[in-house]
Assembly symmetry: none
Homo-oligomer: 123 residues x 4
DNA sequence: GTGGTCTAGACCACC
DNA sequence: GTGGTCTAGACCACA
């Protein structure tokens, strides 16, 4: 369900948060659904449990997840709106990536070409 | 010639490298040209000489610059191909950023909108 | 495990790199093994942490080490082949040193004598 | 007559000195012979004249060369003995190279093999 | 003048 | 705990 890139410069706990936001934004997870237990997910992703714990903790703090004691973590009722808030971060990151590619010498045509390519690859 | 954003999350020495790659990719710097002396560039950018030295050192290691002892650093003969390699890297990063934004739940219209916005901001 | 000669003309960070290459080449360190933490090694060798950090950074760049964020540095899967590359470099350097000694006027008998002397000094 | 490696870690002026020592040690230059003028040699080797000047200056100081005002530099009468003294330096360098190759993981068999190879290449 | 190495120590982020 | 970046400044060697 979730994939992580250990070599990416973006922190693992951020990747986990973004992926969960995305799953909700795309409707693959809904309010009330349970998310994987910390230990389970940490083993699946080969990641330190502390890292998953941090991601969940922050998601709880922002109201995206709800912890039910002894039961686990669940997608909250306001998760969709939280996921939308988080899109802003993705927008900024994308903008940064574009400007950085420009500074490296990429032309606008190239940028659009890459967008098309991404569209194709996804399909 | 080169500008730096001190508040960017990307390290200063990386920005310097990218800017130099870009200057060669755009033909504003050619093989054989001398790049600013470490101390000079560090003063114009208000940055520590060590930081520039690190950027130059890595550029030398990748074959983009050549150091002539006691004389300075020069754009190498293979600099253009190295700049292209770096462009390839930028392309991949941009592609990844787009796919990641997609996974986060961003629609294609949004993506194109952000490209337009970037175009506008640059001007 | 690692020793340094502070009076050698070869930079400390280079010595550290060579020693690590050697430890892998001789099988005393294997892919997956953790190398000493930067601060730890810097204290045992009585050297500044930055110096060790530079050695490790370059080893990561050449693919000999892998950094796991917040965890430490580990011998990479391709470390053996990298160590062999480094051995190739040493071979070339030795060859050059011999030819240079020849050009300086050293006889072949002398060269062999020096090899014997080195053998003796090591023991 | 003389060749220089601009990328070698050993300073250019040192290379010049060693090469001249070698030419005398091998009998290709004799006391009384004239050595190339600084400007000539600097142009031949594509090297800064100051660098050649430094080499010659030090060779004069050690008694290997003699400057005849307005005429140029000549191999001195004691040049052979000076060249022999300088062999000590070459010996040390060779010894260093061997030990360094050992530290990098090279076996003694390999070292001897490389000596043989050098012998073959020279012939 | 040039670059290269090293030290000392601060600050940040990740695990 | 880990590594990464950056600053400040010393010292050396080469051209």
């Amino acid at each position: 369900m979730i994939t992580i890139d250990a070599h990416s410069p973006v922190p693992i706990y951020e990747q986990v948060k973004t992926e969960l936001h995305g799953l909700v934004a795309r409707g693959m997870l809904k309010p009330g659904d349970q998310v994987p237990a910390i230990r389970v997910l940490s083993q699946t992703l080969l990641v330190n449990p502390n890292t998953i714990a941090r991601a969940y903790r922050e998601l709880v703090m922002e109201g995206f997840l709800e912890t039910r004691r002894g039961e686990g973590n669940y997608i909250s009722a306001q998760a969709r709106s939280r996921a939308n808030d988080s899109l802003d971060g993705s927008r900024k990151q994308l903008l940064e990536a574009i400007l950085s590619a420009r500074r490296a010498g990429l032309g606008w045509k190239e940028v659009l070409l890459i967008v098309q390519k991404a569209k194709g690859e996804e399909a």
